[in-house]
């Protein structure tokens, strides 16, 4: 351990020296501010230690792990069907979307494909969970910036989406509806019409948020030009989802990979923004919510008829092999690297979550910003603690 300790000491001494130099230059004493683990802006238990000079950040060090639940270890003692109910809880706001890549990876290993109807319904529910997730982001964004009303509007309209998810799957937050080879059940009667109605409400919600928040001059002043992430850096850190597209990189796994979901049957636009700042990230999410309602509408029109479950043995043993499947989840790219050794349960599951990579850029992006901008940047990067800590 000596090596490590020495290095820690050295880095500590270096930090102290840097501080001292700064203090001598400016004749001020820095302040270390401990944001979190219990802080209203970290929606969860993220801890960020920031060194301040006045209200300006000298360095920032995020510390995760206050909600580490060890899912990668837990999957190793569970069977494949049991894992689905567990991974629901990683990104708890878009939980259905968590199940899909894992199920697809297992299906890839077993060399089966879900019937078309199941794929369509999966895609619909996938987009619904995106809407449920991102609409809460749009509301929460207001709270982070001091506007209290948007979050209530978000909760109001997200409720409709959650009711839809509950109506189809039985679970509001944790559907556990995906099965290897298809879905647990078909949609209940009347669900499609109801979904169409709700999509209209959600588009209205997007307009309201746009007027209330995005059009507001104060909001724009707070977010434009703040926390700019250039595309090269975004790629290096493996940022994904809206964060990547906000840096001007046109990459969306819904469109850009072959996957057993119905995305190739619909027509949708992948929004990008050249700026890479906080405003761009938020704006892209708003546009994506709108786009998602349109995707759902298109999918509802063309659900094929047929079974929702392929022929799958009752006791699922996945053949030995390795598979990586990732999808464009509400937070970004989420994927599972599943290693099976022909047992009832997986041998190892590496869970690649979007927030983990998206937040790893925080020390880089927070350098030199002001305390209020920390909150703007964190809000616009949009993380879910369960998604960071797994």
């Amino acid at each position: 351990m000596t090596d490590l300790v020495d290095r820690q000491k050295l880095s500590y001494i270096a930090a102290q020296a840097a501080d001292a130099r700064l203090n001598v230059e400016l004749e001020t004493e820095g302040m270390t501010l401990n944001i979190g683990p219990q802080h209203p802006a970290t929606h969860g238990t993220l801890r960020i230690i920031v060194r301040l000079d006045g209200e300006q950040v000298v360095w920032a060090d995020p510390g995760a792990g206050y909600m580490h639940r060890g899912y990668e270890k837990l999957t190793e003692v569970r069977t494949f069907p049991q894992v689905t109910t567990l991974i629901n809880r990683i990104d708890w706001l878009g939980s259905f979307a968590n199940e899909v890549p894992f199920i697809l990876a297992a299906e890839q290993l077993m060399d089966i494909e879900a019937p078309p109807r199941a794929q369509w319904i999966r895609t619909i529910l996938f987009e619904l969970s995106r809407i449920a997730n991102v609409s809460l982001f749009l509301g929460d964004l207001g709270v982070q910036l001091g506007a209290i009303t948007p979050v209530f509007m978000a909760f109001r309209d997200r409720e409709y989406v959650l009711n839809l998810i509950e109506g189809a799957t039985g679970g509001r937050f944790h559907p556990n509806f995906d099965r290897i080879g298809g879905l647990k059940d078909d949609l209940p009667k009347g669900w499609i019409d109801e979904t169409r109605q709700v999509m209209k409400k959600l588009r209205n919600f997007c307009d309201e948020i746009e007027n209330l928040l995005f059009g507001n001059k104060i909001f724009q002043d707070r977010t434009r030009g703040i926390g700019v992430i250039p595309p090269a850096v975004a790629l290096q850190y493996g940022m994904s989802g809206a964060n990547l597209r906000a840096s001007g990189i046109d990459w969306d796994l819904r469109r850009d990979q072959r996957i057993a979901l119905a995305y190739d049957k619909v027509d949708f636009k992948v929004w990008t923004h050249p700026d890479g700042d906080s405003f761009a990230r938020c704006w892209i999410r708003l546009q994506e919510t709108r786009e998602a309602t349109k995707i759902v509408d298109q999918l509802l029109d063309g659900i094929p008829s047929g079974p929702v479950m392929a022929k799958v043995p009752r006791i699922i043993k996945v053949p030995a092999g390795e598979a990586w499947v990732s999808t464009e989840n509400p937070l970004g790219e989420m994927g599972y690297y599943v290693v099976s050794q022909g047992e009832l349960g997986p041998f190892r599951v590496k869970i690649r979550t979007a927030s983990f990579n998206n937040i790893s850029i925080v020390p880089w992006v927070l350098r030199g910003v002001y305390v209020p901008d920390i909150i703007t940047i964190l809000a616009s990067l949009y993380f879910i603690l369960g998604d960071i800590d797994k």
Binding site: N88, E166, D186, P188, I192, E208, G215, N216
Partner: protein, 171 residues
Amino acid sequence: MGFLKDRYNEYGKGMAVTLNTLVQTVKPKKLGGGAATVQYPHEKEAPPLRARGVIALREDNCTSCMLCARSCPDWCIYIEGHKELAPPRRAGGAPRKVNKLDRFDIDYALCMYCGICVDVCPFDALFWSPEYEYSETRIADLLHDKTKLGEWMETVPEAPELEAGAEKKKK
């Protein structure tokens, strides 16, 4: 006027949204207004038929085969049973050996409401009920036994009809 219009877009539109919502909320229910919230103990929302509220047990169907207890990811189902002889179905037949259920407990403090036990049950003994009002003040009180689980059988709804294009269930 361009100046004023810009200012309206920047500052006024948001206030128009909140005012609009206020009017919508104050408007009587008859005119399509009203709040989005429900005054819970006085009025209650009906959960969808499929809602996974609580697991109900039809004790007669249970053969204490342990399948649910073994497939539970959380290990929250506890079953004990014994075999006993039951009178034969037809007169003159040999007495049947049946499994008699002694204990069927679900610890709802551990339960993740995944529904795997309901799915795997081969004898239709477990059902989902949308019932949700069973909170307790002590966490240990959430361990419910088969009598309580049996009472919830009354609240189990019929499975909903399926959307057009769905394949008929084979069962």
